[in-house]
Structure formats: structure tokens, C-alpha cells
């Protein structure tokens, strides 16, 4: 059914959109949930497989503890209550991408329950309740080629968490804000890289529409197959339009179904319905013994949960950074890490922040390094800030050395020595050069002594030129002034 664009405006006034999300996130473990195969993305088909994840008999599962830890981390980050005994259940169904005939999941006892996440949109802040988070294994992938279907088991057995929200969303903006928030939270904590394009973050939207004031939910459809935030927002808009048209104009009868998003055509379409309602016949997997999350292990996981973006911002504000700086640094983990590393060596937060925001961000673009991959030794950065502050180098030299430290991990002192960037300090050299300047410009000297201070700038400029710009301008000015006043006194 086509949406009626003329009616749309009116419909939106009358109908409330209600949505809940199921977000699947691939955990950033090295190996799969129950075998030692790699989880690396982009391998040749069936490269990362073994008899266990191919579903062969006689291969008992061995639980990946890291996956458990990451699942617990995700549950902690979203304020869930943590289950202290971890169990896994079998979800039974037949499909070619499921080699064992069952998927290991946490049906009876999810790792996390009852959490929430606060999202912010143009219309304000809102709390989205999280019903549960459970750990499960991914299925393989079917590749359709020249009339044949091929099975790639690389993804089979890769650990996932599914984050199930309550039906608390009422706009596409809220959904987008929630997903961005989840992505920031989970990628910050290294739970997952959350790359939608690579499928390491996937989102199914359960959507229904009802007249405002109605308490009973409308007919629900589940939308799948969106691989970007933009696609999710478009799919929601489309489905909302389709539902409101159906309700307002009775153009079609809505049925509870699963629909796929076609990004090219900008429409959703019903997936072919299964013949019967599926009964997954869940039961606890006796091959995976319950794992007790004892206090020691739990505390170890809790202690290793990295600071969230919000927590970082609060900390940065507390050590005296302005709001603007704190927000920029906290938003990108690499920048926050650089800040912390440098701050461990030098106690001037604003100086460090200036270098990151004014120099490094621009340098990363120049060097074609993604912002979240930018690296620099904090100690080297601190050293350079210190060198500038003490007048050993000037800002121009510092920037060159900073770039070299970022791009080639160059040592600041070696770099400055090799390039001859050190400033000509107070010392004898500057004295000697100042004497030369005064001797070469007697006319200007007598003008100054005669009361015309204008020539002062000219002499300082000459001295700077003689030092090839490596003198501290203040020191240069000071030495010229001193020398002239001495000449004056002698006269």
C-alpha cells in the first residue's frame, strides 16, 4: 500500500507510535562462544570453523568465559540486575544456517534484567527501560548464488548479546538516540565494536500504532534487515505511515507479522510466513554446566568495566576543564585516553586539552588517521608541552614535534635536536647575536636613546631573524632593552 502523503500530517496528530527494540550485539571476543574458532570479520567462507561450530556430533561445548564477562559488563553498563548463576538453554529449530539444530541462548535465566538507559532528543530526556540482556550464539549465513544456497559457518557460534527493551519508544529520533547511546556505551567498554555495516550491531524494531488515549496496543509488526541508523529511521517512518493509513483509511488489514526493510525501494515487505507458529522447545543445555559468578569474579568484572563517556566527562569537568573541552574529549575514547596518558605526566589539563583539540584533531585529518584510531605517547606529549612552557621551544616547533610523535612515535628531544628546533635561549649565544644586531644598527640605537621607542620593534625583529626564529620573542625583547639601557647609562 502506498502512503497517502496528504493524509500523513493529519494521521500523525491522531496516532501514537509505540515501539520496542531487540538489539543484537556481537561480543568482541577473540574466539566463539563454545569453541576456539576465530571471530574475525571478513574471512573467506568457512575459514573460521571447526567440527564443534559446524554442528558435528561428539564435540562438547566449552564455554568462553570472556563472553560471559562481556555480557555481564553490558548488563552492568545498562543498570541491569545481574544473574549470579549463568545458564544456557537450547532453542530448537531446523534451518540450514543452524548446523546443530539448536541455538544456545539464555532463555530461562538471562544474565541481566530490569535495566534502563536515558536518551536525549530534541523533545527532552527520556528513560528507556531494558527488559533483559541475554547471551547467545549467532547462526551461520546463507549465500544464494546461481540458484543454489550455500552455507557459511564463520558466524555460527559467534557470541552475541540481545538487549531487549520495553515498548518505550515513541519516535524514530528516540530509537536513533538509544542506538547511538548503546553504541557509545558498548564500544567504549570494548564489549563490541558495534558496526552496523558489518552486522556486529543489528536491530529489530517491534512497532505498533494506536489512537492517542487508547490503552490497548495496536497490531504489532516486527521490522528486520536495517543496516544503518538512517535505514532504521526510514523503516520506522514507512511502517508508521503504513499503519496509520491502514487505520485511518482502512486501506489494508494489519496482521501481526515480520517484515523486511528494502533499503533500495524504501519499503517494508512481509517475510514468507512459517507454516506453523514455531514452538522452540526450549530446555536447559545439560552440556553447559551452570557457571557461578562468585563475588570475587563479579567484583573483578565490575572493577574492569571502563569508565563510560558520561563518567569521563564528569571527571574532566572536576579537574577543571571547560564544558566544551570535556565534552569533546569524553566523546571519543582515543582522545580521552590520550588526555589521561598525558595528564599522568603533566598537571595542566587545559594545556593538554588545547593540544588535543587544536592540534591533534587537525593532524589526524592531515595524516588520514581516523579519530578513534589516533595514538600518541602521553609522556611525549607532556614533554613537549613542558618544553614550550619553559621556553625551550616555541609553539611552531612543538607542533612539528607533536606531529612526528603522533605519526612516527618520534622522541621529542631527539626530534628537536635533529631539526635544530631548540630556541636560542638567554645564554651567551643570544647575547652575542644581540650585540651584533646593535652594532649593525647604530642608527636605530641612537634613535631609541634619543627617545623614539618605535625602532625597538625593528631591532627585536632583526634579532629574531638572526636566531632563525628560534628565540623566545620575550627574551629577545628583554635582552635588547637591557643592552640599550646599559649603553644609555654609559653615555
Amino acid at each position: 500500500m502506498k502512503n497517502n502523503p496528504e493524509k500523513k500530517g493529519a494521521d500523525k496528530m491522531e496516532y501514537e507510535l509505540v515501539m520496542g527494540l531487540e538489539v543484537h550485539v556481537e561480543l568482541s571476543t577473540e574466539t566463539k562462544l563454545f569453541c576456539a574458532c576465530s571471530t574475525a570479520f571478513g574471512a573467506e567462507p568457512n575459514e573460521n570453523v571447526c567440527p564443534a561450530c559446524c554442528g558435528m556430533p561428539g564435540m562438547p561445548p566449552v564455554l568462553n568465559k570472556r563472553a560471559v564477562e562481556l555480557g555481564v559488563t553490558a548488563a552492568l553498563l545498562t543498570g541491569c540486575e545481574i544473574s549470579r548463576t549463568l545458564t544456557f538453554d537450547k532453542k530448537n529449530y531446523f534451518y540450514p544456517d543452524l548446523p546443530t539444530g539448536y541455538q544456545n541462548t539464555q532463555f530461562f535465566n538471562p544474565v541481566g534484567r530490569g535495566g534502563s538507559l536515558e536518551v536525549e532528543t530534541a523533545s527532552g530526556k527520556k528513560t528507556i527501560r531494558i527488559k533483559q540482556i541475554h547471551i547467545e550464539e549467532d547462526a551461520g549465513k546463507l549465500v544464494h548464488e546461481r540458484g543454489k544456497t550455500l552455507v557459511d559457518c564463520n558466524r555460527a557460534g559467534v557470541p552475541l548479546i540481545e538487549i531487549v527493551s520495553e515498548a518505550d519508544f515513541s519516535s524514530a529520533e528516540e530509537v536513533t538516540a538509544y542506538l547511538e547511546r548503546l553504541r557509545a556505551l558498548l564500544s567504549f567498554a570494548n564489549v563490541s565494536d558495534c558496526r552496523m555495516q558489518e552486522g556486529s550491531m543489528r536491530c529489530d524494531v517491534n512497532l505498533s500504532v494506536r489512537p492517542y488515549g487508547e490503552t490497548v496496543l495496536g497490531t504489532r509488526t516486527e521490522i528486520k534487515n536495517m543496516n544503518s541508523l538512517k535505514a532504521i529511521a526510514r523503516a520506522i517512518e514507512y511502517e508508521y505511515g503504513r499503519h496509520t493509513d491502514a487505520l485511518a483509511d482502512k486501506t489494508e488489514v494489519l496482521v501481526q507479522e515480520t517484515r523486511r526493510w528494502d533499503d533500495a525501494r524504501g519499503v517494508t515487505y512481509a517475510m514468507r510466513e512459517k507454516e506453523d507458529a514455531t514452538d522452540y522447545r526450549y530446555f536447559s543445555n545439560p552440556e553447559v554446566l551452570p557457571v557461578a559468578l562468585d563475588d570475587a569474579w563479579f567484583e573483578q568484572i565490575r572493577a574492569s568495566v571502563p569508565e563510560t563517556s558520561e563518567q569521563k566527562k564528569i571527571r574532566f569537568l572536576a579537574i577543571g576543564l571547560p564544558e566544551y573541552d570535556a565534552a569533546i574529549l569524553a566523546r571519543t575514547k582515543s582522545l580521552a585516553d590520550i588526555f589521561d596518558a598525558a595528564h599522568a605526566h603533566i598537571s595542566e589539563p587545559k594545556e593538554i586539552s588545547n593540544r588535543i583539540i587544536m592540534d591533534l584533531i587537525g593532524m589526524s585529518k592531515e595524516a588520514a588517521v581516523a579519530l578513534d584510531e589516533i595514538k600518541i605517547d602521553g609522556k611525549k606529549m607532556a614533554r613537549l608541552i613542558g618544553l614550550t612552557a619553559s621556553g625551550k621551544i616555541n609553539r611552531a616547533a612543538e607542533k612539528l614535534a607533536l606531529y612526528a610523535a603522533m605519526a612516527e612515535d618520534a622522541d621529542p628531544d631527539e626530534f628537536i635536536a635533529a631539526r635544530g628546533l631548540a630556541m636560542v635561549g638567554g645564554g651567551e649565544q643570544l647575547e652575542r647575536l644581540a650585540d651584533e644586531v646593535l652594532a649593525e644598527n647604530e642608527k636605530s640605537v641612537s634613535e631609541i636613546i634619543g627617545g623614539n621607542q618605535k625602532a625597538m620593534g625593528f631591532l627585536i625583529g632583526k634579532l629574531m631573524k638572526k636566531t632563525e626564529g628560534k628565540a623566545d620573542p620575550k627574551a629577545a625583547a628583554k635582552i635588547i632593552e637591557e643592552k640599550i639601557s646599559r649603553i644609555k647609562a654609559r653615555q
Partner: protein, 304 residues
């Protein structure tokens, strides 16, 4: 123990040999690996004589000194009993299940058929090496110096429920484990099928052995939404109660093994549901010991 020849039953996988010989749906499926227990035996210098559908016959004829079997339903045990052989079913988790075709995974365990208890325990000593490839391995047993082991007789707790509980759990777990044999991979499929569902249904309908078909059908039933609470959940609850009651029974009889009545037909349900070791000796002698006290059975066997 002197070097001996040993064979395996159909559920133990050996590289280059058919998986589950005699089952149509696995026909053509050659095992890509060898079961952990078989590897341990050959590494210890014992000669592997091959797969057999009649492990007890093979031991009785003297062809093999021992047979490694997976006997969760007690069929091989009863066969050994009839032939006057010894059958040792170790504690659950003592022998790695790597390479064992899983059926009732919560009870699957490699056992040993032999002519005497000494040989059976000699084999167990070799195959009970810990294996990180099986997440259900038992904790390492502590060394102990129990010299005197007594024998007691007692009523089996929950006895009348055990066969039903066992069947429900056996079917549920086996249904899940044999669903990998779906006609799509590992062996054979039905001919001239129309579409995926037909391929699954007809392959499993035509080629799965009767035992696995029954288990699949009954397992699907006891796990279905409508019957889960009445069958599966209830069976799990009784199993838990039974498991604890067995522990209490042994705790009340210090340093002693249980002698089951000769007429007791469901000895396999006791070992399967409580995970305790048992030893069948010729003449209808059936002994069961506390979990991980397998050695007590050998000591007790010397009294007969």
C-alpha cells in the same frame, strides 16, 4: 596392565570410520576425528581393533580384552550380564565425551565391558584423563586410602518414578542432539524431496533409526509449550530430588557401596539420573558407589 586389544561401539567416533554405523541417515558420514578415550588407549599402547555392533560378543569371544561403549539405556550392560561379563559405568564426567555421539548428554558416559573388574578398572584409569575439550569433566578426585569398603542394601529412593523420569529426559535430550542429523549434512538424505521442509521431514522420517525417531517425537512432545510443565519440568524436579536423596543415602552408609537387587531392571536409570558409578559383575551382582568413588567398586568387587 598388559597391552590388550579393544573395540568400540557405534556411538564412539574414530577417524576414518563411519559415524553410527547401521543408521541410514549417517551413511556416508566418515568421522573426521577420534574420540578422546580411544586416543588415550592407543597412546597407552593398546591396540584398537575397530568398531563393532556387538561389543560384548567381541569380548566374550576373546577377540578383544575390553570394549568401550556408550550405554546410557542399559542395553549393553544387560547384554554383558547375560554373557557373564563385567560392565563398568564410571561416574558422569570421568571420561571425556569428546568423540562420543551425544544422546542424553546429561548422562552420556563411556563405559567398559571386560572379562574381569581388574581389566575394566585398568582401562578406566587410562581413559579418565582430564580433558579441557569437555566442559562437563568431573573435578579431579582426591587420593584416598580407604582400605575397607562395605556393602549395603537399601531401597532406591523415588524408585517407581525413575523409569518415567529417565525416559522423558532421555527423549528430550536425545531429540535435541540428533536434530543435527537432518538430511542436509553429515550423511544421507531422502530422494526427490520438494523444498526444505520436505527434505527435513522425509530424510528424518525415512532415514533416522527407529530409536532416534521415537526419541525425537517424544522429546518434541515433552518439550512443547503445552506439555513442558507436565513432563519435562516435573521430570527435572524429580531428578533433582533423586540426585540429592542418593547423596544422602551414601552419606548415611559410610565407606560403603550399594548392592542393587539382582532382579532390579532399572539400574541404568540410577546411574544415569544420579551420575554415580556402577559395576555389573557376573551372577547378577550390581553395585553402585558414591559419585567419583569409582575405585570403591573395584575394592568391593573382590568380596565376590
Amino acid at each position: 596392565m598388559d597391552a590388550l586389544k579393544f573395540c568400540t561401539d557405534k556411538l564412539i567416533m574414530v577417524k576414518g570410520m563411519p559415524v553410527c554405523p547401521g543408521v541410514a541417515i549417517t551413511e556416508g558420514f566418515v568421522s573426521p576425528y577420534t574420540a578422546a578415550a580411544v586416543c588415550l588407549m592407543t597412546e597407552a599402547g593398546h591396540e584398537y581393533a575397530g568398531q563393532t555392533l556387538d561389543p560384548c560378543g567381541s569380548v566374550l569371544s576373546g577377540e578383544c580384552g575390553a570394549a568401550l561403549c556408550c550405554d546410557v539405556r542399559g542395553i549393553i550392560r544387560n547384554e554383558a550380564d547375560k554373557k557373564g561379563l563385567v560392565y563398568l559405568q564410571p561416574s558422569y564426567g570421568t571420561v571425556s565425551r569428546r568423540g562420543l555421539v551425544a544422546q542424553m548428554a546429561s548422562a552420556d558416559q563411556t563405559g567398559v565391558a571386560a572379562k574381569d573388574a581388574q581389566t575394566a578398572f585398568g582401562v578406566l584409569k587410562i581413559i579418565s584423563t582430564r580433558d579441557d575439550g569437555d566442559g562437563c569433566m568431573a573435578p579431579l578426585a582426591e587420593a584416598e586410602s580407604q582400605s575397607e569398603i562395605n556393602i549395603f542394601e537399601a531401597e532406591i529412593p523415588f524408585e517407581k518414578f525413575l523409569p518415567a523420569v529417565f525416559e522423558i529426559l532421555y527423549c528430550a535430550e536425545t531429540a535435541g542432539n540428533v536434530s543435527r542429523f537432518d538430511g542436509l549434512k553429515f550423511g544421507s538424505r531422502a530422494n526427490n524431496t520438494a523444498g526444505l521442509n520436505d527434505l527435513y521431514a522425509r530424510s528424518r522420517g525415512e532415514l533416522l533409526c527407529e530409536e532416534w525417531q521415537l526419541a525425537s517425537a517424544a522429546g518434541a512432545l515433552v518439550l512443547s509449550k503445552d506439555f513442558f510443565d507436565r513432563f519435562y519440568r516435573k521430570a527435572m524436579c524429580v531428578r533433582r530430588l533423586f540426585f540429592d536423596a542418593v547423596d544422602e543415602m551414601f552419606a548415611a552408609n559410610k565407606n560403603a557401596v550399594l548392592r542393587l537387587p539382582a532382579a532390579y531392571k532399572n539400574a541404568h536409570t540410577v546411574t544415569a539420573l544420579a551420575g554415580v558409578p556402577s559395576l555389573f559383575l557376573p551372577g547378577g551382582i550390581r553395585l553402585a558407589a558414591p559419585r567419583y568413588k569409582d575405585e570403591w567398586l573395584l575394592k568391593a568387587s573382590k568380596k565376590f
